[in-house]
C-alpha cells in the first residue's frame, strides 16, 4: 500500500487520485514528475548515497528536476539549517551518526517542498534519543502544512498521530 501511495507501484484494483488526477493513467515520465513534486521519502535505512556528502545527497532531487545550480546551493544551505546540520554539510554518511543521517534524509525529502511526506519506520534504526529528535522534526514539518504519512511498529509514536490505520496481516483493522 505504501508503494502504491508513493507512486512506486500501480494498484492491482481500485483507484488512486492525487491532486484530482487518476495516477493509474500516468506514464513513466508523468509518474516520476508527480513523485518529484508531491512526495518526499524517509526510509528506515536512510538510503543516502555513500559517496556523496550530506549536502550532495540533499541536492539529488533538485538535480533530477533540473533546478539551476545556484538555486540548488542556496536551498541546500537552508535545508541544512532547518535540520540543524549546517556544520555537517561536507560529511559523508559514514561520518554521521544515525540521527544525523536520518535528518539528512528528511532534508532531502523536503527539498522539493512536497505536499506529502512518506516515512517508513523512520526511527526503526535509531536509538531512542535520536528517534525522539526525528519525530519532533517530522511533527514540526506536519505543522507546516505537510501531510505526514508514517509507517511504524512503535505504539508510542503511533499514538501521537492525528489519524491511525492499523494493519494486521495486510488487512485494515480499526484502531
Amino acid at each position: 500500500m505504501f508503494n502504491v501511495i508513493a507512486l512506486l507501484d500501480q494498484p492491482s484494483s481500485g483507484k488512486y487520485t492525487l491532486n484530482n488526477q487518476d495516477v493509474t493513467q500516468l506514464n513513466d515520465q508523468e509518474l516520476a514528475k508527480a513523485r518529484r513534486e508531491n512526495i518526499g521519502f524517509v526510509f528506515q535505512f536512510f538510503h543516502l548515497i555513500p559517496r556523496y556528502t550530506a549536502a550532495e545527497n540533499i541536492e539529488i532531487p533538485m538535480i533530477l528536476a533540473g533546478v539551476p545550480s545556484k538555486e540548488r546551493k542556496q536551498r541546500v544551505a537552508e535545508a541544512l539549517i532547518a535540520v540543524n546540520l549546517q556544520d555537517r554539510a561536507a560529511h559523508r554518511p559514514d561520518q554521521l551518526s544515525g540521527g544525523q543521517t536520518q535528518r539528512v534524509a528528511i532534508a532531502r525529502a523536503m527539498i522539493m517542498r512536497p505536499q506529502i511526506l512518506l516515512a517508513d519506520e523512520p526511527t526503526g534504526n535509531l536509538d531512542s534519543q535520536s528517534g525522539k529528535e526525528i519525530i519532533a522534526l517530522l511533527e514540526n514539518l506536519n505543522q507546516q502544512q505537510v501531510t505526514l504519512l508514517m509507517i511504524t511498529h512503535d505504539e508510542t509514536i503511533g499514538r501521537r498521530a492525528q489519524r491511525r490505520i492499523r494493519l494486521i496481516d495486510g488487512q485494515i483493522s480499526l484502531p
Partner: protein
Amino acid sequence: MTFSDTLIQSYSAIKTQPVRVLLIILAMSIGIASVTVLTALGESARLYIVNEFEALGTHLVIVLPGRAETTGGHPPIFGETPRDLTLADAQALFRSRNIAAIAPINIGAAPVSTKGLERETTIIGSTASLRRVRHLNMAQGRFLPDTDTNKILSVCVIGQTIKNELFAQQQALGQWLRINDRRFRVIGVLSSEGQSIGVDFDDMVIIPVTAAQTLFNTQSLFRILLEAKSKPAMYKAVDEIKDIIKARHDGEDDVTLITQDSVVKTFDDILMALTLAVTSIASISLAVAGILVMNVMWVSVSQRTSEIGLLKALGATKRQIMYLFLSEAAILSIAGALTGLILGKATLFILQTVYPDFPVYLPTWAVFAALAVALLTALIFGVLPAKQAAEMNPVTALRRK
C-alpha cells in the same frame, strides 16, 4: 537533469571504482592503440609508395609492347606480343610536340666482371634521356652521352653497389668492365638511390640502348619511358603516341600506355583498401573491449541496484537513469581512447626512431575516427546494462542492500 549534471553524476560514480575503471581503460586503450598504429602504418605505406611514384614525375608515360586485346591476357608486362616495339618506334615518337624526353629501355641480366671479380647483375640499355625521366643523380663522372642513338658506344654507368662490389675503394671512372664478351668503359657512377618502386639502381649497369640490343641479340625494346612537357600535355601525348605507333604498326593499335597518375591512383586505391582491411581486423580488439564495457556496466548496475531504486523514488525517469549509465560507459571509453591514442603515438614514435627511413604518419581523420569508434562502442555495448537499470522496478530495487 542537464547534460553537465549527468556527466558530473556519472563521473562521481566512476571515481569510486578505480579497478573497474582501469580494466575498461586498459582494454579500450589496447584496441584504440592497435587501430591507430595499424592505420598509421597502412597510411604511411600508401603515402610512401605514392610519393615514390610522384618523385619520378607526375607526367611520365610508359609504353609497353602489346595489348591485353592482342595477347589475350593481362597487359603484357614482359613484352610478349606479335609486334615488337623497336628503337625506330621510339625515335618516331619525337614527332609529338608534347613529349620532352624519350628513354627507350632494354633490360637483361648478364655477368659483369673486372680484374677477376664477377657479379651477375641487371643491365639496362637506354639513352641520355633516362637520367631525366627517372630523375637519376650522379655521384661521379657523367651519364650516357647524348649522341646518335644508333651509334654503338662502349661506355657504361654503374650503380653504387656495383661500384663497391667490383671496385671497392678504387677509382671506378675510366676502368673497363666486361659484360658477357664485351668491354665497356665506366664513365659515371650513380649516387645511391636506394630501391625505387622495386627497381634497385644501385645494383645495375646502364649501357647505351644499341649496345644492349647487340649484347642481348634483340631488336625489340622492353618498354619506352616518356616524359611529357606538362600534365595537360601528357594527355595529348598519349593520343599522339597511339596514333604514331598505330601508323607504324600497319594500323594496329598494339601498345599499352600507362600514365604515371593512373599508376599512382591504382596503388593509392590498393593501399587504401589494404589500410582499411588491416584497420578492420584491428578493430576486433575494440569489439572485445566493448564486451568488457558491457560486463563491467552490468556489474555496476547490479551493485548499485539500491541507488537506482532511490533515484527512481526521488523522481528520476527511465531516460535519466539510462543516460546516467550510458554516460558512464562513454566517459570510460573516451578515457580509454585517449590513453590508446597516447599509447599508439608512443609506439609510432618508437617505430619512427627504429626505422627512420620509413615515414610514419598518423592521419588526423584516424584520431577522430578512433574517438568516434570508442564512443560508439561504449554506447552500443553500454545500452543493454543501461536499459536494464532504467527498467528496474523501484520497489524491488529499494529492497536490495
